[in-house]
Amino acid sequence: MAPNDSAETTGEAADTVVGRRKAARYIVPVAVAGVAAATIGLVPALANSGDPDLPKISAQELIEKIAASDEEQLSGTFKISTDLGLPLDGLAGSLVPGGEGRGGDKDAGAAAPQDKLMELTSGTHTLRVAADGPERQKLSILGDASEYSLIHNQGEVWAYDSKSDEVYHAEAPEGRDGGGHAEKAPKAPEGAPATPKDFAEQALAAAGETTSVTVDGTAQVAGRDAYQLLIKPKQSGSTIGSVRIAVDAENGVPLKFTLSAASGGKAVVDAGFTKVDFAKPAASTFAFTPPKGAKVTEADELETGKDERGAMQKALPGQLAELDGLAGEGGFNVIGEGWTSIAEIRSPGGKGLPEAGSGDIPAEAQGFLDALGDKVTGKFGSGTVFKTRLVNALLTDDGSVYVGAVTKDALVRAADAAAK
């Protein structure tokens, strides 16, 4: 109220010494805020300062260490950030599976694993992983007040989406004829590789004369000492700058995987444990019974029945989905090798992107597609290049598609060479 305020100002004017003493009290909150700001600023810097001091090791030895790693029991928290540089995040689901030619079976129930794992291809996600031997694994994607869990427990695969309270159930592939005992751990069903081990195996498979593999110092990952394996393409024209894998110095388990683009900037894929524990996870972790009343979708039902949702999904990015069809019908071959290999897909009909007004897709959609790509011309004719930070695709007007983790120029060169 006014009387109070005015009384105070007159009081302070009358006695400046008291006023100063009173003002001094405000130093306390300011100091608290200052200390907090300093702590926030300094603690990460201090925590990062010390890379562990480990005996020198050759790249060969390190890869052997990974191969020899037989840790089967672990649990931990895993963080994956992906920045593929897709034109629109929403398209991630249509573009990425397209490359694998399996867009047709996308119309699964809400709790089916494929869609969920595709979500990992954009943005930052926190995952929890737990494994106990080849017969029990669990992968959970932590969402806002919800969680998506994929559980493999002795021949049974369960997926539970807590957000929609829906369950997906399948027999593990090997378990079906093997009497319920799966011999090998099924990887998270044909989606993005999810653990560092999968990543490492894929990256190392690509190695050869085209690749330089070195040990590049040490690091602390999830509180454990680790060696860093650095993999770089020797060829030029690749969009991949380097692959860096942090390997646990003690047991050879890959802990962190970083894929950087040649163009620099933020890592394209940065996936690693933030917490890891090599003790046996509790058996209850892998036990799953569908909650009472939850909708359970069996994998068998999905194979036979197709619902409308899938049809709608296919209708909108119809042009993109058509790419999947091309892989089956037309010619498919690989140009080049190693890091710069380019997949060439020729459509039998020789039909490229429909021209505006051809009636295949609405004019708005045509404009939208044009906006996503760059027009290029060359000896092969003309076409459109769709760019991401990692994978580029050239769609020529005569209907051929060139896809690879290479630069735009390399794609055009490949198309020129093929046109001769």
Partner: protein, 303 residues
């Protein structure tokens, strides 16, 4: 206001002749503050509104799914809307979490903002602050007691929501073993422990905001003004927290980690965001608590 008389009555209790340094004296002051707070009509009204939210949600979900237990009838957009809503039909226990998720963004902090904003400014407004200070409590102690009573209100308000939700959930929907959002199953008893823990986490989440409210309350002599400013600040922060371009600032907004209470329902409990939330609340309490102290102990009390 009977508050001043009451605290003086507390002070004058027999067996405590000096009445200054005895620890029980503070407890007496605290007790009188809490009873006065909880006996006000306004507090009843706030708590009644909070208790009504789970009832509304429960009835709405019940009507929507036509009889409950309908087998995850989330429809094509199952999973939309507030968190945990899809699970409520199959297990009434989840209404506790759905109700907390629905009230935490606005209703709960609004009630806390009203109480915290009124704590000092309301006394000043109605002219009772000086009588409270006549008692040899000291301003620091009075401020601490006021803050403690606001914290008690945070806890009471959260528990009112949780208990009301549990009752409504048990009445309208089947209850039984709880499936955590990680897919593992825990008994109903452990579920109740988790629910209690969640209520506690939510109450602690409000501590930082309560400290801000108390600070605002020391700035002005108008109770309504302090409440409006506090609630306005809440809405501003909630809006800022939803603008993606400001993501750099988000981790420092007091409301940013509020929804982390849901992590209690993971198996094992995911502590990362919860501990960030606690640290952030602690920081807000330290900064705004000391700011309130600096203001209140230096202020001229004329009303």
């Amino acid at each position: 206001m009977s508050r001043a008389e009451k605290s003086q009555a507390e002070r004058a209790r027999p067996g405590d002749p000096r009445g200054i340094r005895h620890p029980l004296w503070t407890l007496g002051l605290l007790r009188s503050e809490i009873t006065t707070l909880l006996r006000r009509h306004r507090t009843y009204a706030l708590l009644a509104v909070l208790a009504a939210v789970p009832v509304l949600i429960g009835i709405a979900v019940r009507i929507e799914t036509g009889g409950g237990g309908g087998g995850g009838e989330g429809g094509p957009d199952g999973g939309a809307g507030p968190a945990f809503l899809a699970q409520v039909t199959n297990n009434g226990f989840f209404l506790v979490f759905a109700a907390l998720a629905a009230t935490l963004p606005v209703f709960l902090p609004m009630a806390v903002g009203v109480v915290a904003g009124d704590a000092i400014a309301g006394e000043a407004n109605s002219g009772t602050l000086r009588y409270l200070l006549v008692a040899p409590a000291g301003r620091t102690r009075l401020l601490l007691v006021k803050y403690a009573s606001v914290l008690v209100f945070c806890l009471v308000a959260t528990l009112v929501v949780a208990v009301s939700a549990l009752a409504v959930g048990a009445l309208l929907f089947p209850v039984g073993d709880v499936t955590t959002i990680s897919g593992t199953r825990i008994g109903f008893g452990e579920g109740l422990v988790r629910a209690a823990l969640t209520a506690l986490v939510v109450a602690v989440s409000l501590a930082g905001f309560a400290a801000i409210g108390l600070f605002v309350s020391t700035l002005t002599g108008s109770g309504i003004g302090a409440m409006a400013a506090t609630v306005g600040l809440l809405i501003t922060v909630q809006i800022l927290d939803s603008i993606p371009q400001l993501s750099g600032v988000h981790p420092y907004l007091f409301a940013h980690y509020w929804m982390s209470f849901a992590d209690v329902l993971r198996e094992p409990v995911y502590w990362d965001d919860l501990s960030k939330n606690f640290q952030l609340q602690g920081l807000y309490v330290a900064v705004f608590g000391s700011a309130a102290w600096a203001r209140f102990t230096a202020k001229d009390i004329t009303a």
